[in-house]
Amino acid sequence: MDIVDNSIRETVDLFKKRKISCQEIVRACFERIEKYNLSINAYLTLNKEQALKKAQDVDNNRVKGRELPPLAGIPVALKDIYSTKNLRTTAASKIIDNYLPAYSATVVQKLESVGAIIMGKVNCDAFAHGATGENSDFGSVKNPWDLEYVAGGSSGGSAAAVAFGGCLMAMGTDTGGSIRNPASYCNLVGLKPTYGRVSRSGVISMGSSLDSMGHLTRTVEDCALVLSVTAGYDPLDATSSRKPVDFYLQDLSHPAIKGLKIGLPQEYFGRELNPEIKTLILKAAQQFTDLGAEVDEVSLPNTAYTIPVYYLIMSSEVSANLARFDGIRFGHAREMFGEEAKRRIMLGTFALSAGYYDAYYLRASKVRTLLRQDFEKAFAKFDALLAPVVPIKPRKIGEKEQEKLKLYLEDYVTGPVNLAGLPALALPCGFWHNIPMGMQLIGPQFSEKKLFEVGQAYQDVTDWHLKRPPLVEEMG
């Protein structure tokens, strides 16, 4: 273990106690990157010069006794769909492999304003289309826990970067599970906030009514700290909420779990769920019971329709959102889109076309209401729901090349959350052989504070989140 394997909270403490400097940690992260990025393929673009300069500024301010903002000196990575001013942003696609945004996303500006150090842009499935990180035009992301396995997706690079110590936190996006899935694969905490809690302005849109701007960290506490920074109304995003931001860190030291009602959606625990994974989740459920929560079964009856509803709506929105890539103001010709992007654009265009709109897009939007109502009814009785994140055994890289379409079917445990606009917190809860496995806590809209408390209570009595990948342990 090294200083880069600590949590943000531990690092801030070390800064305060003057045990380490910001430049030290930033350099240490770059050393990890130098050693491992070639084989893991997490970072696509590095921001080394700027990062070191900013680290120096932070250290200077500290020496002068100036009060430091919450994330001062903390190295962070950004999924390469976050626009960063004059720092290459590719969406992991060849079609914009040379694109330099003339502006930065609101979240990026917020992170910079609280002192975070942007280490670089990380790999993902191109345009966030995928769940394994294999759809990147710049090569797959490998799982730091075992290089033969995928790191999950679409925010695979974000997860891998934190897992191997290339940064302490990474921003990702979650449209159908894309933060929770890689968090599970890489033993991290991954938050998908309520839709509208964090500004989407400046992040390349995938499914406009589904995209949530979230992040991956090592602990629940870190996760709550970061949300305190990124959450809030943005006048540049008409779908961002004006609801005041909660004090997420307030009750973490004494999370109130007693009497909390946690539901297990029976449709997520059916035949399709891998039995070993099921065992891990149920074990966690038992631990919640031991902590004083009341765990019971609940039904989300329309779950079976998740895949068609999610894919029809998401593809329709994608087909429109990717129409601006025409090679006139930026990027290359449309032929440079990867296969997955083309497929989704074709599907979405079809679903919106004359004669098919009613049967596909409109119908899917109506069934979406039914899925939302399932959750509303469940939350009338329960405070939170506990569910798996990855329902099948972890995938190796290059597995089932011919069955790419089958991947779509695995989104049934993560997709409904996006369709309903709810928050969900993914937490490490064990291992499937040598690969980490996570679970998710789903709550009603704007219940992130409660989810953090429940997650913290779990992390207080377990140590999954403290484990580090073998390659890191070897380094010492």
């Binding site: 969406a91 945004p101 502006y103 540049l236 129409a323 930026f330 919106l352």
Partner: protein, 430 residues
């Protein structure tokens, strides 16, 4: 005639004179600006940039809709109209389809189908550079708010179209929401034309584009009616198509056939939440509707016994109309309405530069047969100045009250209002 009856519908686009664009804070005044100097990530369609609607543009659209007798959709939303064209950076235009802000209106005896709000596209310039045909794109105009007004196919003739459009333009200008100028491009027209023998609305319509003056509207529609009639008389079929108008030759030409028609794939804009109006808000907007041109014209004819041309003058010149009405406010003025109107219209009295009180005074003098004509006054003053060099010298030495003596001299010679006389003399003396 030929027995064929034309069915004409109009589509009018009006650029709103808001300060900022429809979905971003860029300056909306794009006339004669250096290319691509008024853009931002939103209106340039950069990845990740999101639209946020301009409240004033929405209010003005509802305002215009109410003026045009429309019903208002209390729950409304924007939609994406998808097609590829170099002047459309996002690959879709944010517009309205299913639930426009305004619908089912009526103006000057023509039913209005809808009035909705959308964003303008960029400007294209076609050039030949070093022998190669290129198209240059300027996005300064992209994102400016555009109101679209669509009529039912009830326009009866080319001339009717022209007259109706002129009236519409006058009304829109009177609301101060747009300068509605065809030359500047803040008013654009499209006409849909079809003909039928049996009096029933045909199943096809031909869209006419590229019409940029009232005169051309008339010519284009006339030509098109003739063209379609001839085709039918030859036994040929006419299908849905889009035609442009070539003003030099006065003909329409094929631009897009039915097969090449765009398929827009409308769906609700996910980046913009719906717009909801309360009754209270609509009432507030309704109360702001000013007296409209047609109403004003009729009132001036009725109340002041003016003829049509005189009434028209006051409708087209709001400051003159206001001045005219102020004259009669205090009820101490009893010149015949039409005489006053003539004095103002013909500028017999310099009303623009004198107060209503002075105007009344001048009229009083005129009634006594005194001098009021500017030129005559100036002549008379000069004569007095030339004939009294000592008094003029005294004035110039500082004895300013000698002007009173000069006024007296003028009044001896001719009937004139003392104040006007003094003014004229001072003009020469200063």
């Amino acid at each position: 005639m030929s027995g064929y009856r034309p069915f004409i519908g109009l589509e009018i686009h009006v650029e709103l004179a808001t300060k900022s664009k429809m979905f971003c804070g860029c300056c909306a005044d794009h006339f004669h600006k250096e290319p691509n100097t008024q853009t931002c990530p939103v209106c340039l369609g950069l990845p990740g940039a999101l639209p946020v609607p301009n409240k004033k543009a929405i209010d003005w659209t509802v305002f215009l809709g109410l003026v045009l007798g429309c019903r208002i959709n209390k729950h409304s939303y924007f939609e994406r109209k998808q097609y590829f064209y170099p002047d459309l950076p996002k690959g879709f235009q944010i517009s309205q389809y299913e639930r426009p802000f305004c619908f089912k209106g009526w103006f000057d005896e023509v039913n209005i189908t809808r009035v909705h709000l959308e964003e303008d596209t960029g400007k294209l310039i076609h050039r030949k550079i070093e022998g190669e045909k290129v198209t240059l794109i300027d996005f300064n105009r992209c994102g400016v708010p555009l109101v679209e007004i669509v009529t039912e196919p009830e326009i009866k003739s080319a001339e009717h179209a022209k007259e109706w459009l002129k009236k519409l333009q006058r009304v829109i200008r009177s609301l101060s929401i747009s300068d509605c100028d065809m030359e500047k491009g803040s008013m654009r027209l499209e006409a849909n034309v079809s003909v039928s023998k049996n009096g029933k609305l045909p199943s096809y319509k031909v869209e006419l584009k590229n019409i940029n003056s009232f005169r051309f509207v008339e010519k284009a529609i006339e030509f098109e009616i003739q063209r379609q009639t001839e085709l039918f008389e030859k036994g040929q079929k006419i299908e849905q198509e889009t035609r442009g108008f070539e003003s030099d030759k006065g003909v329409t030409y094929l631009q897009r056939s039915k097969e090449e028609a765009f398929e827009y794939r409308y769906f609700p804009e996910p980046d913009i939440p719906p717009i909801v109006f309360t009754d209270g808000e609509l009432d507030k907007i309704r109360k702001q509707i000013p007296e409209l041109p047609e109403e004003k014209r009729q009132r001036f004819v009725k109340e002041y016994s003016l003829n049509e041309q005189e009434a028209d003058y006051f409708v087209s010149n709001p400051s003159a109309a206001q001045y005219f009405e102020v004259l009669y406010l205090e009820k101490n003025f009893n010149l015949d309405f039409r005489e006053t109107a003539r004095l103002i219209i013909n500028k017999k009295i310099d009303w623009e530069n004198i107060s209503p009180a002075d105007f009344k005074a001048e009229v009083a003098v005129l009634q006594e047969g005194g001098l009021s004509d500017q030129v005559e006054l100036a002549k008379a003053a000069k004569i007095v100045v030339d004939g009294n060099p000592k008094a003029v010298a005294d004035y110039r030495k500082g004895k300013t009250n000698t002007v009173g003596f000069l006024v007296g001299q003028m009044m001896k010679k001719t009937k004139v209002d003392p104040n006007l006389a003094r003014q004229e003399l001072l003009k020469i003396l200063e």
